[in-house]
Structures are given as C-alpha cells and as structure tokens.
C-alpha cells in the first residue's frame, strides 16, 4: 500500500515522537517527507480540506489495510469532486484525508449516452 504525503498544515514543524512513529510505522511514511510537503491542499481540488492529505492509487485498498492496522475512519470512502476519499485522525487529532485523485474529464462524454 504505497501512500504518498501531499500536504500538511505545518510543513516546517517537527513531527512529535508519537505521531512520527504513527506515520513511519503505521502508515509507512518517513517523517522527513513532512519537511518538503506543500502547505496548500487547494490544488488537489476545492473540496479537499484536511491537515494532512495522503495520496493513494486505490483508496478502497488503502482504507482496508489501515483498518486492519486498527485505524478507524470518521468518513468511509466517499466520492468528492477530486475523487474517492476517506478521513481519519492521527494521534494528535489532525484530520488526515486519504485521497485517490480521479480524472473526470471524460465523464461528460458518457452522460446520457449508452
């Protein structure tokens, strides 16, 4: 389940030990990558609002694996404008969004036609 970190509200702030363990051991993301993360999630879609956005290629699979590691989701995989997303909180209570970006530009082609 490769996850990539895309955004944190405080990119420069050092990650506290406990969340660092959480990010490294539970999510498999090295705390170092926080330093380079962008601080504005807006470019991912106007309905993407979270302290931390984690991109995945398959939201259902990632969500399933995180659940098996004991993470409980406050929002199960749901469809938003940017794609498929699910929400959970990290140990500091920050809102983490799992996001599978989807391209809907071809969607228009199919509406009303079959």
């Amino acid at each position: 389940m490769p996850l990539s970190l895309k955004q944190t509200a405080q990119p420069q702030a050092p990650v506290q030990p406990e969340p660092a363990n959480f990010y490294e051991q539970t999510l498999g993301i090295h705390a170092r990558v926080f330093q380079g993360a962008a601080s504005d999630p807006g470019y991912l879609g106007k309905d993407v609002e979270a302290d931390v956005v984690l991109l995945t290629n398959d939201c259902l699979e990632a969500c399933f694996e995180l659940r098996s590691k004991g993470i409980s989701f406050s929002q199960s995989p749901s469809y938003i404008e940017a794609g498929l997303s699910a929400v959970f909180a990290d140990p500091l209570g920050r809102k983490c969004m799992l996001l599978e970006k989807r391209d809907y530009t071809e969607e228009e082609e199919f509406i009303g036609f079959a």
């Binding site: 969500c63 995989p77 809907y104 969607e107 082609e109 199919f110 036609f113 079959a114």
Partner: protein
C-alpha cells in the same frame, strides 16, 4: 480466458478475455456486465444489444443472456452478480425506496458507464489478477460497483423522469421506461439506418409524442441523440484503435466522410485526424 470467483455470500465475479466466443449464462441475481475493451453482442429476453465500453448492462434475476464476441481486437468483459442479501443490505444502508428496485428500478437495460464505475471495476480486476483472496476487501469493490451503478441509474432514469411533463408519477415512470427502451434500440442500432418511426414503435408512442417526450428527458431530439452517439463512438475508435478514418466513418454509420468531418469539427472543435494525432501521437 475466464476467471470465476464465487463468494461465501453468493456474490459472483467473472472476468472474460477473448477474441472469439459465445457463452450463455443464467442469472440467479441482479447482474452487472461491463466491457472494458472491444465490442460484443448480447441477447437477453427478446432483446439484442450491441455492447460497447461506454455502456453497462444490468440484468434481472432469472434472466438468461447470450454474449457473442467476434473481434480482431481482444474483448475484455467483467460480470458481477449481487446476491439477494447483499442487495438488501445495500438498499437498507442508503434508504433506497423499494419502487426504485423492483418496479423498473434495476431494470434490464444498457446504461452509460461512469468514470467511477470503470475505475472501481478496473481496481477489482487488478485485485483478482493479483490473486487477492480476501473476500472482505473484494466485497468492498462490489459494494462500490453497485453504488456507482445506482448513481448512474439515478442520473439517467430517476432524474430524467422528473423532467417529463406529466402530473402523475405512474405515467412519468411508464413513459420513461418506454423512452429508455427506444434509447436502447437507437444505441444498439446506431450504425444502421434507424428510422424515427421504428424508435417510436419500440416506445409504443406516436412519432410526435415520442419526439417531444424524448427531448424533454434527454435534452436532445432522437436524431441529435443518434448523431451525438455516432460522433462519440467515432471519437472512441479514433483514440483507441488504428482503423483508418474512412473505415471508422462507415463503422459508426455515416455515409459520407466529408459530412462526418464537418460534424466532428463542429462538435469537438478539432478535425478527426488532428484529434487522433493529439491523443495517440499517430499521424495517418
């Protein structure tokens, strides 16, 4: 090649990949069929539809279907059967009114595929090919496929039905069902000479009544709808196959390349060959 997976909860998935095949199936449950590439013919009940990757087919419990594939392009299809209990849990979870299920709800017809449905099914296929045996995870994909289908059904039938100008809900539902049958007929015969009279006959409506209500529901006249469908399928063939332009023109039912090129350009603001070059990098 066929991959079959039966779940403990009696859901069923079948992946097919073939150039040349005919197979019949009996469906115990509501069954969703989708083609990922190529084209196939599908018979069910008394109907025969031409099946493209832009559409999905929902079949009712107790129905039989015969799928024929004969194509130089490989044809990949996915068939998912949702068990009664699985469907019941789904309906309960989203508080879907019973009349949206039984009476014409998940009724047998071709519907457009949404990007979400295609992506969910591609992920599911990938999991099966990888040998994922975890049914809990696979059922998640099935749940989402059903949700994606219901979203399309709501948009294509329930919301369009509201646009019909009849005061009685039962009349709206009946006319929408007939319009849907006619739309399916146009869609399956889109590359032949489809007459307005034939389409109106399928809908059991007079030509004038058919034209007016069709436009209310779909926002296009039946003729405009047919032209749009031909253009969209031509565009799909330009992007996904190597057929020459003249071949595509006759495959989608246009008689004359120059009128096709003019319509294509007016609709998509680009000529067919420029479109193909931009999408595939191939200059022909």
């Amino acid at each position: 090649m066929i991959t079959l997976k039966t779940f403990r909860n009696r859901n069923l998935i079948r992946l097919d990949s073939s150039h040349d095949a005919v197979y019949t199936e009996e469906h115990t449950f509501y069954t969703l069929k989708i083609i990922l590439s190529g084209t196939a013919t599908c018979r069910f009940g008394k109907r025969k539809v031409q099946f493209y990757p832009d559409s999905c087919l929902m079949l009712s419990p107790g129905s039989k279907s015969e799928t024929s594939i004969n194509s130089d392009q490989g044809v990949e299809s996915v068939t998912i059967s949702f068990s009664g209990a699985f469907l019941e849990a789904f309906v309960k979870r989203f508080s879907i009114p019973p009349e949206h299920i039984g009476g014409g709800g998940f009724s047998e017809s071709l519907y457009p595929v949404s990007s979400d449905m295609r992506i969910t099914i591609l992920h599911l296929k990938k999991q099966l090919e990888r040998g994922t045996g975890n049914e809990e995870l696979l059922n998640e994909y099935l749940h989402h496929s059903l949700f994606n289908y219901y979203t399309v059904f709501r948009r294509e039938v329930l919301l369009r039905m509201e646009k019909l100008r009849f005061s009685k809900a039962t009349t709206r539902a009946e006319v929408m069902k007939r319009l849907n049958d006619a739309r399916e007929y146009i869609s399956s015969n889109y590359n032949r000479n489809v007459s307005l009279q034939d389409a109106a006959d399928i809908a059991c409506l007079s030509v004038n009544h058919f034209m007016r209500t069709f436009k209310d529901a779909y926002g296009f006249s039946p003729h405009q709808y047919l032209i749009q469908l031909r253009l969209k399928r031509a565009r799909y063939l330009l992007r996904n196959t190597r057929y020459a332009l003249n071949e595509i023109v006759s495959m989608v039912g246009f008689e004359c390349p120059s009128s096709f090129i003019r319509l294509f350009r007016n609709n998509f603001m680009v000529t067919p060959l420029k479109y193909r070059a931009a999408k595939t990098g191939v200059l022909i």
